[in-house]
Amino acid sequence: MLMDHIRGPWTIAVYTWREGMRKKTLIGFLILSILVILGSSFMTAFMTQTTVGEAQTDIEAKLIKDICVAAISIFGVLITIFISASVVPTEVENKVVYTVLSKPVRRFEYLLGKFIGVQLIVIINLVLMGGLFFIALYLKQRILPTLLLWSIFLTYFEFLIVSAFTFAVSCASSSAVLPTIAGLFIYITGNMTEYLKDVYVRAGQTGLWIDELTGKLAYGLYQVLPNLQNFSLRNQVLYLQPNDPPRDVMIPNLIVYGLVYAVAGYLIAYWVFRRKEL
């Protein structure tokens, strides 16, 4: 009985993954990111040598880290948003959804399959990009960059949240444009929630009603929106030793935090899709 409920979503997930990995836009982003990551290692070869020995290696490693962390963040989130925004609207447009939902597959299972498929794509891309970064850094410093692995692991949960909410918006949309914009919005605001807190703290000082309203609005958004900065180990990757353990982060808590938001996003997607007219 349980297998019946798992088989359908898993079949859809594998199909989504196989189809998604063939999308030209996604392949384009992936190739670009790989070029940037590989390019960072080559760039260090052309750097003017200002110091000698270990110090020079550290400078070169920092350059690689700087470029690669940025590349993974930018291309990773673009891939995540692009694929999360497009899988459902594309299937509605080309009518594949009709042939799938006319089979003994419930909408809940269909969406679960699509969502898992998206996560497979995101994970594989992250592993590819992170793997290259890992190799580049190891070759430069000859130390296993375990901290980088933690950073990539947490980056996935950041992408998971962005993906879940983009996916939810895509279920209400007939094209990928609106969910792509929504995904970028979630990613940007999710990385700026500390500013919302600042707005809340500073608001209310003038006594004007608009000021107070802005403060309450900022507080509300601060409470609701995920704080994606929690998942960032960027500074630690840049400034700590490659094999240092992550500091000042509760990884199990962050995993739960990410999963709670992902489940919420998925449930919103289902709530929107369960009565959607196809």
Binding site: D4, R7, G8, T11, I12, Y15, R18, E19, R22, N94, K95, V96, Y98, T99, V100, L101, S102, K103, P104, V105, R106, R275, E277, L278
Partner: protein, 322 residues
């Protein structure tokens, strides 16, 4: 024969956003489709055919009314969907997959696996004549082959009911004939087929009963033999001069289909064949043949659509009569 698909006052209204006008896609539809028959569901573009199919499949939801499939009102339940095969119009099949892989994907959605899945895929490919092309990528398939693969995915679960939306549209005459033969064979195997189509000749050739829909209202429904009741007589004559044809036209006998020196005269209900023959003899026309002629489905369709009274459902009346 038992009723396998039944709708009761089924109505679908697409509510307009903002200040637009609501679209009444389907009005008070009462439809019965019997076990083991091919039901041709006809209508012009936008008449509500696809809306009906989507409602039956649970892809959209009725504004009012209800539906029953195999006596079950829970249209969306997996138990019902296991008994239905569906071919949508112009569906896309992933072109990076091989024909067999497409069927394996859909078979897995039916909960099939292992040897059973392999057996069903092979049977479906055999039924639609795609066994030899099963390992080719879908992107290399012709339109007819894609349609066959679509039909094969609808057959994987050995369904009791097949719902086919425009199964022969865009196909060449040979492919149409082959699909038509496959559908007739499926009917002979005891399956019930609901075929929505614009191809009236195709529908006429294989359907047991038809329903004609216009502007969301079922205008006519019943057995083809009962509906195509307008029977006429055609008298073919040779070397008819224009003056003679004018006299015949004045009596209601219209000349049509002039081929070289031969003219076909259509005899209306108001004139008996004997009277017509007498008039032909009076004009010294050389008689070539006398033949009965039944109205075609296309003529019936055009007549019904022209006479259609929008928003006056007759489904309930037809249902009582059938």
């Amino acid at each position: 024969m038992s009723v396998v698909i039944e709708t009761h006052s089924l109505t679908k209204v697409y509510e307009a956003a903002f200040r637009g006008q609501d679209v009444h896609a389907l009005e008070d539809l009462n439809l019965e489709i019997h076990s083991g028959e091919i039901f041709g569901y006809l209508g012009p573009n936008g008449s509500g055919k696809t809306t009906t199919i989507k409602l039956l499949l649970g892809l959209i939801f009725p504004t009012s009314g209800s539906m029953e499939i195999l006596g079950n009102k829970d249209i969306g339940s997996p138990a019902i969907r296991k008994k239905i095969g569906y071919l949508p119009e112009g569906a896309y099949y992933p072109d990076f997959l091989r024909g067999e892989e497409v069927l394996r994907f859909y078979g897995q959605l039916y909960g099939l696996g292992g040897a059973e899945l392999r057996k069903r895929v092979a049977e479906a490919l055999e039924t639609v004549g795609m066994t030899r092309a099963r390992m080719r990528l879908v992107r290399g398939y012709s339109k007819g082959m894609r349609q066959r693969i679509g039909l094969a995915q609808a057959l994987l679960n050995d369904p009791q009911i097949l719902i086919l939306d425009e199964p022969t549209t865009g196909l060449d005459p040979i492919a149409r004939k082959e699909i038509r033969d496959i559908l007739a064979n499926l009917r002979d195997e005891g399956k019930t087929l609901l075929i929505s189509s614009h191809e009236l000749l195709e529908v006429e050739l294989i359907s047991d009963r038809v329903g004609i829909l216009s502007e969301g209202v079922l205008q006519m429904s019943g057995k083809l033999d009962d509906l195509l009741t307008n029977r006429e007589v055609i008298i073919s004559v040779l070397n008819a001069p224009p003056q003679a044809l004018e006299k015949l036209a004045a009596a209601g006998i219209q000349a049509e289909d002039r081929v070289e020196d031969r003219v076909a005269l259509r005899i209306p209900d108001t004139v008996s064949v004997y009277q017509a023959l007498e008039m032909c003899r009076a004009e010294n026309l050389a008689l070539q043949s006398i033949a009965p002629r039944r109205e075609t489905l296309e003529e019936l369709f055009v007549r019904v659509i022209k006479d259609a009274q929008p928003r006056v459902p007759i489904g309930a009346a037809e249902k009582k009569g059938s």
